[in-house]
């Protein structure tokens, strides 16, 4: 198999077990021949034990003992498959328990979100919630899969009705690329193979769409940002004076000779070289891991950010963000948390909860400002020192952060800077 230029595409799936989400993933893996014989045998045995007719494809996605016993998904699980065109990573997020927390997690790295709708029920509250989260996390591409078309006689009319329902609210979303797809995950229609039952549908089946979708331009190539993870000082023969700043390019493009500023100190220098293992490169772009050396001997350490002189992020100590609360413990008013933003940790405080968002109606909630698990709110964050931030809509790396509770060290919230 010739895969040299193949890209990696990460997608997340939203929908409950009832929407046929697990069946869809099982179908994708099965029809793309990504399931091994021993896995299939094990699923056949379990299907028979449970008294199911045929092979229950949904069982492929069960991971933990309790999930198998209860037939639910508890935690985000990752699945992999490869076709001759691309490698895929699926973040399979549970539909029932802690849906927001898990979907936000799965969505944070996704290029594409698949939202499932049961063709019999049409758009329900949950659909609106999933679409909202996909939009909040700025997933560039959304595929709305209208599933179980076999149960509505593969009706084109029903399909169009559901699209109309979705479009009633989708104008409020920030996702630019929304596509619709009529499928039957159970029978395989329009998943890997084009549907024989829905000749009226002129679009490509799901896999083809995933294989050919243009994702290279999803990454910000304008704002050059390089958060320093660690400093490499080898102190060995041949590299006595070497001082490399190791990190992964967050966005933009860096080249040797670029005039750069180190933030927050403001020292300026020029890029001397961009190094990888035993070689150098002419250009570094996201998400490349490299180390950068500078012409001048200036003080740079973890938490600093190297940027180009003519395009700097704004250092801010107070900013607004959309916050998703991920912890069982309710947020304490004006409580202090450690904020982790790129490679920089600072003490911070939720200065104010401006409003919460009802993820089903998209309405603001102004009279209840307690942040509980799965709540989404607009907040004002204050930090002890300035952070080099961009807006999340421009930059998913320098526009995002997490909050960590110092008492438990747990990750309690995820934030997207406005």
């Amino acid at each position: 198999m010739q895969l040299d230029n193949n890209q990696l595409l990460r997608f997340t799936t939203a929908g409950s077990v009832d929407d046929g989400k697990s069946t869809l993933i099982g179908r994708l893996l099965y029809d793309s021949k990504s399931i091994f014989e021993d896995q299939l045998e094990s699923i056949e045995n379990t299907s028979a034990k449970k008294g199911h007719e045929g092979v229950d494809l949904a069982l492929f996605t069960d991971g933990l003992k309790e999930e198998r016993e209860q037939g639910i998904t508890i935690d985000v699980a990752y699945r992999y498959f490869t076709t001759p065109k691309r490698k895929f990573i699926i973040a399979d997020t549970p539909g029932h328990i802690q849906y927001t927390r898990n979907m936000v997690t799965g969505a944070s790295t996704a290029n594409v979100a698949l939202i499932l709708i049961d063709a019999r029920h049409g758009v329900i509250e949950q659909t609106r919630r999933h679409a909202f989260i996909a939009s909040l996390l700025q997933i560039p591409h959304l595929i709305v899969c209208i599933n179980k078309m076999d149960l509505v006689d593969f009706s084109e009319e029903r399909y169009n009705e559901i699209i109309a329902q979705f479009e009633e609210f989708s104008s409020k979303l920030l996702v630019k690329d929304i596509r619709f797809l009529p499928i039957s995950a159970l029978l395989g229609d329009n998943v890997v193979n084009a549907s024989e039952n829905m000749k009226w549908f002129k679009g490509a089946p799901m896999l083809h769409t995933l294989e050919t979708m243009h994702i290279s331009s999803d990454i910000n190539k304008i704002d050059a940002r390089f958060p320093v993870q660690t400093v490499l000082r080898p102190q060995r023969d041949g590299f006595i004076d070497y001082r490399g700043y190791a990190g992964r390019v967050a966005s933009g493009i860096f080249r040797p000779g670029d005039e750069v500023t180190v933030m927050p100190s403001g020292f300026t220098s020029k890029i001397k070289s961009i190094d990888t293992f035993e070689s150098t490169v002419d250009e570094a772009f996201a998400p490349m891991s490299v180390s950068i050396t500078l012409e001048d001997d200036i003080d740079v350490s973890r938490g600093d950010m190297i940027v180009r002189n003519n395009n700097k992020p704004e250092p801010k100590q107070e900013f607004d963000a959309m916050l998703c609360w991920l912890n069982n413990e309710t947020a304490k008013p004006r409580a202090k948390y450690t904020i982790c933003h790129t490679s920089n940790d600072q003490k911070s405080m939720i200065k104010e909860v401006r409003y919460k968002v009802d993820v089903n109606s998209y309405n603001r909630i102004e009279d209840d400002k307690d942040l509980n698990m799965n709540d989404i709110a607009r907040v004002t964050i204050k930090t002890t020192r300035p952070l080099m931030i961009d807006e999340y809509r421009d930059n998913r790396v320098t526009g995002s952060f997490i909050l960590v509770d110092d008492a438990t060290h747990e990750t309690v919230a995820a934030g997207m800077i406005l």
């Binding site: 040299d4 193949n6 091994f36 991971g63 944070s108 080898p234 992964r248 997490i402 960590v404 990750t411």
Partner: protein
């Protein structure tokens, strides 16, 4: 299409390097768990890239069950010499001698589960706060739920239902004294990715992975190598076969498969046509539906 994108192997490599550098930055005393298998060799290779021109800043830690392939130990020692790393060995035999664990009895007795105690003891006595492992999410269903940074309580236990959510590429390794982390930089690699990368980078791996002649016995659907630990059962006979191993574990539980693949190219081709998972030849995973999850909860990697 613009040229500003990475192919999937480069992206996986970059992700792993990012995670290894985060481990180095966030922990005081990390180690690489080194088994001598392809995944831990790959990990060591990636660590070399992540810190070049510095040397790999982590010691390698090997949990030695005493049931090794001799080739694995030789390979380990050569690699240590080449990379100039420190080696920490946790010995299961010592744990047995000290009465910390008891040897399993019976036909399919292995030292696989005994490793957990030795591993946790070694982590504690060496004050290790992060053990980097070559676990991959595609290997097994419990592993599919793992984080890059996976928290362990002060008993070394994993609680899959209460894991820290991991968003974007922000890794939270904050911990209290006595707790530790497992880090899995190659979580997103599949078996095929590993082989394609080893082939591309021409990474040296133990000869056991290549087809070779060996004395073996047919047991549990695979060819179990003859060793001093193997007790022949009635009806079993020793044969010489051309085999290779798809994964490497203890010599007592690792089954080989008949193969002519004696180059990385041929191995990668062979793996791409396999219809069974790689852990299918591991008797440790065949014990029950949740064998891996149960061991992981106790502190296995």
């Amino acid at each position: 299409m613009s040229k500003y994108y990475l192919n999937y192997l480069d992206e996986l490599e970059s992700e792993a390097i990012y995670i290894l550098r985060e481990v180095w930055a966030q922990f005081d005393n990390p180690v690489i768990m080194f088994s001598g298998g392809k995944d831990s060799i790959l990990l060591t290779h990636l660590a070399k890239k992540a810190f070049f021109p510095s040397r790999i800043p982590f010691p390698l830690m090997h949990v030695d069950t005493g049931h090794n392939f001799p080739e694995t130990i030789q390979f380990r020692d050569d690699l240590i010499k080449e990379f100039g790393c420190q080696l920490i060995v946790g010995s299961v035999q010592e744990s047995i001698d000290q009465g910390r664990v008891a040897e399993e009895k019976g036909k399919n007795a292995t030292r696989n589960a005994l490793q957990i105690t030795t591993l946790l003891d070694a982590i504690e006595s060496n004050k290790i706060d992060c053990a980097i492992g070559g676990g991959r999410r595609d290997e097994e269903k419990a592993r599919a739920k793992e984080r890059f940074f996976s928290h362990r309580d002060d008993f070394g236990q994993w609680n899959p239902k209460n894991q820290r959510p991991e968003l974007w590429n922000i890794l939270n390794g904050k911990h209290f004294e006595g707790e530790h982390f497992r880090a899995f930089p190659i979580s997103n690699w599949t078996e095929m990715d590993v082989w394609n990368y080893i082939k591309r980078e021409n990474i040296a791996i133990p000869s056991l992975y290549f087809a070779h002649e060996r004395e073996v016995v047919w047991r549990s659907d695979s060819w179990i190598p003859v060793s001093e630990f193997l007790i022949l059962e009635e009806g079993e006979k020793v044969e010489t076969k051309k085999i290779r191993f798809r994964t490497l574990g203890d010599i007592t539980i690792t089954g080989g498969m008949e193969s002519d693949a004696d180059t990385l190219e041929k191995i990668a081709n062979e793996v791409s046509t396999m219809r069974k998972t790689e852990r299918g030849n591991r008797t440790d995973d065949k014990r029950s539906e949740s064998a891996m999850e149960d061991r992981k909860r106790q502190g296995y990697f």
